[in-house]
């Protein structure tokens, strides 16, 4: 899922300083699961904002709403009437949801209430870790199901580099060396010899390096009669 983290309150107050009425908009998708921008967080943030603005002597009126998914235009249609009544929207969705709102409501600003951090997994209470970089050409078949693009600090394909010690990355003792994990996993599976092969240059054009990506599936287009 997409992991996000709420922005510091001061930064949000700064965005909203000129508005009297704001829609605080949560998302029922990933940000609800990672506890950054669901219904509960919308409530907490709204209280914090209301208190801070009252203290400043410039109270703000806040409308609270959480939609099923902000990255879906369909769900945004249902709140068009709410957006019409406010000066601006504060979105607690990921960067995709924030942009979808801005696209759906071009005459109002939708401000980001979170920093979208990465695509990852929940490890423990309050602990998330990156797992995928959406590079567009999955190689997990060759690396024991552990992604070096997302999990090696250098995204190298023939690791581990010389900075790997005791299973940890040179960047931080808190970071596992992805290539040590790959090596150990393949050893466990009896497939470590496959690492003797030199992995070829990666085609980064499938990644962000090829420019903004778009996926078109003609089979679905045909099916829908478009």
């Amino acid at each position: 899922m997409i992991i996000a983290e709420r922005k510091p309150i001061d930064e949000i107050l700064e965005f909203l300083s000129r508005y009297q009425k704001v829609l605080v908009l949560g998302c029922g998708g990933c940000v609800t699961v990672c506890l950054a921008g669901g219904e509960k967080e919308v409530g907490i943030l709204s209280s914090e904002l209301a208190m801070a603005r009252s203290k400043e002597g410039r109270p703000v009126e806040l409308v609270q709403k959480t939609v099923e998914r902000q990255c879906d235009f369909e769900y945004l249609e249902g709140i068009r009437h709410l957006v019409k009544e406010v000066d601006a929207v504060l979105s607690l969705a990921c960067g995709i949801g924030i942009q979808t709102c801005n696209e759906a409501f071009p005459d109002k600003n939708t401000w980001p209430g979170v920093n979208t951090r990465f695509l990852g997994v929940n490890l423990n209470v309050g602990e998330w870790a990156e797992r995928c970089q959406a590079c567009g050409q999955c190689i997990l078949d060759k690396t024991g199901g552990i992604c070096p693009v997302a999990r090696c600090s250098k995204s190298i394909f023939n690791g581990p580099c010389g900075g790997s010690q005791n299973g940890k990355c040179e960047v931080s003792p808190d970071t596992d060396c992805a290539w040590a994990l790959i090596h150990d996993r393949l050893t466990r599976l009896g497939q470590v010899d496959s690492l003797r092969e030199i992995m070829p240059l990666k085609d980064w054009s499938y990644s962000r390096d090829g420019g903004p990506r778009k996926l078109v599936r003609e089979d679905l287009e045909l099916e829908s009669g478009k």
Partner: protein
């Protein structure tokens, strides 16, 4: 001969080779590089010129290499994968070859987190093993995309690094094998401050016959202080410093002198080790000690080949 460099001639003729290392300055003062070149000329076959080591911006390794050539010394330019993509690297290699640079050392590069621009974006379009393969392709007439070069080919003697002190230990030998497979001619190891571990690694290297496929130069770093040794042991990722070295430095009246003694003893020991083709002396921010180490280790004068 692939490139005909001094280093290649020395290694391929079976002589014990000596390489040194010069860290370019954090300025455009080329005189710093020239000064070291003049001081060290004649003591080493070639000198590594580090490529923004520890991710700190410095005078470029290729420019420093050109300064060395002007002083009559042979450069071995380091290229890290951190700062340039395959387009930039190939262009720089062609430029370096046009300037007369023949030795190139391929490295991953320290992560930018350690340097003076920790907020920079890193590149790592290719890794060090892929880089070796690209350079091997170039000297054989092909760009990384497979396109044939129409004109003069770069004459390159290709080096790589090996770190016997990093983990997973046994895989370190496989990684050296991959580098040899990719086309590396020589390898310079991380500095040895734990000889017992190094010997165990060399046993595995010899068991696979790798010393016959790639020339191995053992890394030597004279210790300047107890503090530096302890720091390396504790904080430098992929480094090991044995307790006996720390103990010797602690007991010494003159720590620097003892650091040189250890380096000289290591070189004499390594000279007799099967599969060691030479030494690579990395006197970090202490380049002017290289002549003394070479003299005392019996590495002077350099043979004519």
């Amino acid at each position: 001969m692939k490139a005909g460099s001094n280093l290649e001639r020395m290694l391929e003729s079976g002589n014990f080779a000596v390489t040194g290392e010069i860290g370019p300055p954090k300025s455009c003062n080329g005189e710093v590089v020239r000064h070291h070149a003049r001081m060290l000329k004649g003591y080493c076959e070639s000198f590594n010129l580090t490529d923004n080591q520890t991710a700190i911006v410095r005078l470029s390794s290729i420019a420093a290499g050109k300064l060395l050539l002007e002083e009559g010394c042979e450069p071995n330019i380091q290229i890290v994968c951190r700062d340039r993509n395959r387009i930039g690297i190939q262009s720089d290699v062609l430029g370096a070859a046009a300037l007369g640079i023949k030795n190139v050392l391929c490295l991953s590069g320290d992560h930018q987190k350690f340097g003076n621009h920790p907020t920079a974006k890193n590149v790592y379009d290719v890794d060090s093993i892929q880089l070796i393969k690209i350079l091997d392709g170039m000297r054989n007439g092909y760009f990384a995309n497979g396109e044939e070069m129409k004109d003069e080919l770069p004459k390159l003697y290709i080096g790589c690094a090996a770190n016997p002190f990093a983990d997973p230990f046994e895989f370190r030998v496989t990684r050296l094998e991959k580098k040899a497979d990719a086309g590396a001619d020589f390898c310079q190891t991380q500095c040895i401050l734990d000889m017992e571990r190094f010997e165990r690694w060399m046993e595995l290297v010899r068991a696979r016959g790798l010393h016959k496929r790639i020339k191995i130069l053992a890394g030597i770093t004279p210790m300047k202080s107890v503090k530096a040794a302890k720091y390396m042991k504790k904080f430098v990722a992929g480094m090991m410093v044995s307790d006996d070295i720390i103990e010797r430095l602690e007991k010494a009246e003159d720590v620097k002198e003892e650091g040189v003694n250890i380096a000289v003893e290591q070189i004499q020991y390594l000279k007799k080790m099967e599969g060691i083709a030479g030494v690579h002396i990395m006197a970090i921010a202490w380049e002017d000690i290289i002549p003394e180490i070479c003299k005392r280790a019996g590495l002077t004068p350099r043979p004519e080949v």
